[in-house]
């Protein structure tokens, strides 16, 4: 016995299934993604101006506060059970904005609360979004190190 038991695989069948499998409505899904994604960025821009002109924030603080506000909105919409419906309509349009990141942290936390506050809610919180932090932080360290050594050699 081989570990991968593939002698019975039927290539012809797999190809046929690929051929007749239904496709997503390309144009409509792209339009929805564009519309919703753009709209979320529009709100982001509004919040940015709000913080800039009314609270006088700028630079890193402005960027941080804006994303915090958007994450708050994403979490609240997830809590009310609205975000999955937005996602159903918008697809990539609501996954990619930072609100989608908030949704991917918040939804497993809610979902696994039934398995307890430590091993459920808290430990499953990053079940979807964990990879973003793992690879993001690792890649940023790599970037930092490269810039550091370039700095040494060019100095």
């Amino acid at each position: 016995m081989t570990t991968k038991n593939n002698q019975n695989y039927n290539k012809e069948y797999i190809e046929y299934v690929k051929k007749i499998a239904p496709k997503t409505n390309e144009a409509r899904s792209l339009f929805h993604a564009f519309l919703v994604g753009g709209f979320i960025c529009l709100i982001g821009q509004f919040i940015r101006y709000l913080f800039l002109y009314t609270f006088g924030l700028f630079g890193d603080e402005l960027a941080g506060a804006t994303s915090m506000a958007l994450i708050f909105i994403g979490c609240v919409l997830t809590g009310f059970g609205v975000y999955d419906n937005i996602g159903h309509f918008a697809g990539g349009g609501s996954i990619v904005p930072i609100t989608g990141f908030a949704n991917s942290v918040c939804s497993p936390a809610m979902e696994f609360k039934s398995e307890g506050f430590v091993y459920g809610l808290a430990s499953k919180m990053f079940v979807v979004a964990g990879p973003i932090i793992v690879y993001g932080v690792s890649a940023s360290v790599l970037t930092g190190l490269i810039y550091y050594f370039i700095g040494i050699f060019t100095a």
Binding site: N10, I20, T24, G81, H88, S107
Partner: protein, 329 residues
């Protein structure tokens, strides 16, 4: 070649059925045939797992009650569901004071349970056996896919797990629909790896069991009023019929429980799936048709995709299985 069909000499009867389903199933065209519709699919419990268990337990209770039998008359319960370690069925069984035989064959569990019950009754070992299976959308979703509130998109080839449970009481005599034979299926794997496309993964197994049944019982599809598959969905049904045609069998009296249970709009994608799907459709609408003798002879072919969330993450292909029972009015 050894035969995989069991012919029943005493023809066990299905003397009563009961079905219960969630609000989504209730709102579809099929909803009016289901015995009881839940307003809320939490069923007043605090988790969906508990709701699934309660649904199954309630369904078993009502199946026995609607046959005018007492719990002490029941020899055994054969039950299964989709959750890990079939907890819904096992936990439902602790509410009853009779033996429990837990079975799992993914979405084909219902016909498996029905066949095994018929074997036990036909052999004269037992008089009354309950076969019941159930599934719940929310519990299947979190086990096999994503959290409910995650705004992810469902690909168009996916199916929707039925929230519902169906039970049937198999007994030795009476003027009820009879189980004539049961054909146990082989595991067939053509190498489909897309966990969203379960119809395509199950179609080869379904076709294999169907052709075996026709060969071993020496019948053709025309001898049956209805060939009812479990949850192949629209795409899977199309694939199954094509595979059968390639091997020289034309099927034109075919229906699929997954296609029937929802109003097939784009929203439900390819149709329903889950252990509860064939149980709910067969035990409600089809059973009533059998009782009225509007269907005289039919094949029930529940189909199952034997994957787990681990196996699909490890890139394994999805083996399919299908068990068939022939029922006569």
């Amino acid at each position: 070649m050894a035969k995989s069909t069991v012919f029943f000499k005493n023809k066990p009867r299905i003397c009563s059925t009961f079905t219960i389903a969630g609000p989504k199933e209730g709102n579809s065209l099929f909803g009016k045939y289901i015995h009881e519709i839940l307003k809320d699919d939490r069923f007043d419990e605090d988790t969906f797992e508990k709701a699934e268990c309660k649904m199954l337990s309630y369904c078993i209770e009502q199946t026995i009650k609607s046959a005018n039998k007492k719990q002490t008359d029941i020899n055994a319960l054969i039950s299964g569901d989709l959750l890990n370690q079939i907890i819904s069925a096992s936990f439902a069984a602790r509410n009853f004071d009779f033996p429990y035989i837990g079975v799992y064959n993914a979405c084909s569990t219902f016909s498996e349970a029905l066949s095994l019950s018929a074997v036990l009754v036909d052999g004269g070992y037992m008089k009354n056996v309950v076969a019941a299976t159930g599934s719940h959308f929310a519990t299947a979703e979190r086990q096999y896919r994503y959290p409910l509130e995650l705004g992810s998109t469902r690909p168009p080839q996916s199916q929707w797990t039925v929230t519902g449970a169906g039970g049937a009481l198999i007994t030795d005599k009476g003027s009820y629909p009879k189980i004539i034979s049961a054909t146990f299926g082989k595991v067939v794997d053509f190498g489909i790896t897309d966990a969203n496309n379960m119809g395509a993964a199950m179609a080869p197994a379904c076709c294999d069991t169907l052709l075996t049944l026709l060969k071993e019982t020496d019948t053709s599809p025309k001898d049956y009023d209805l060939i009812l598959t479990g949850d192949l969905g629209a795409l899977g049904s199309r694939l199954m019929k094509k595979l059968a045609k390639e091997r020289g069998v034309n099927i034109d009296n075919h229906c699929d429980c997954g296609e029937m249970i929802y109003n097939l709009k784009e929203e439900e994608y390819q149709g329903g799936s889950g252990a509860g799907c064939s149980a709910v459709v067969f035990s409600s609408y089809i059973y009533k048709k059998l009782m009225k003798k509007e269907i005289k002879r039919m094949i029930l072919l529940a189909t199952g995709a034997l994957l787990s969330s681990l196996s699909s993450q490890q890139g394994e292909s999805i083996p399919g299985i299908s068990h068939a029972v022939v029922v006569e009015a």
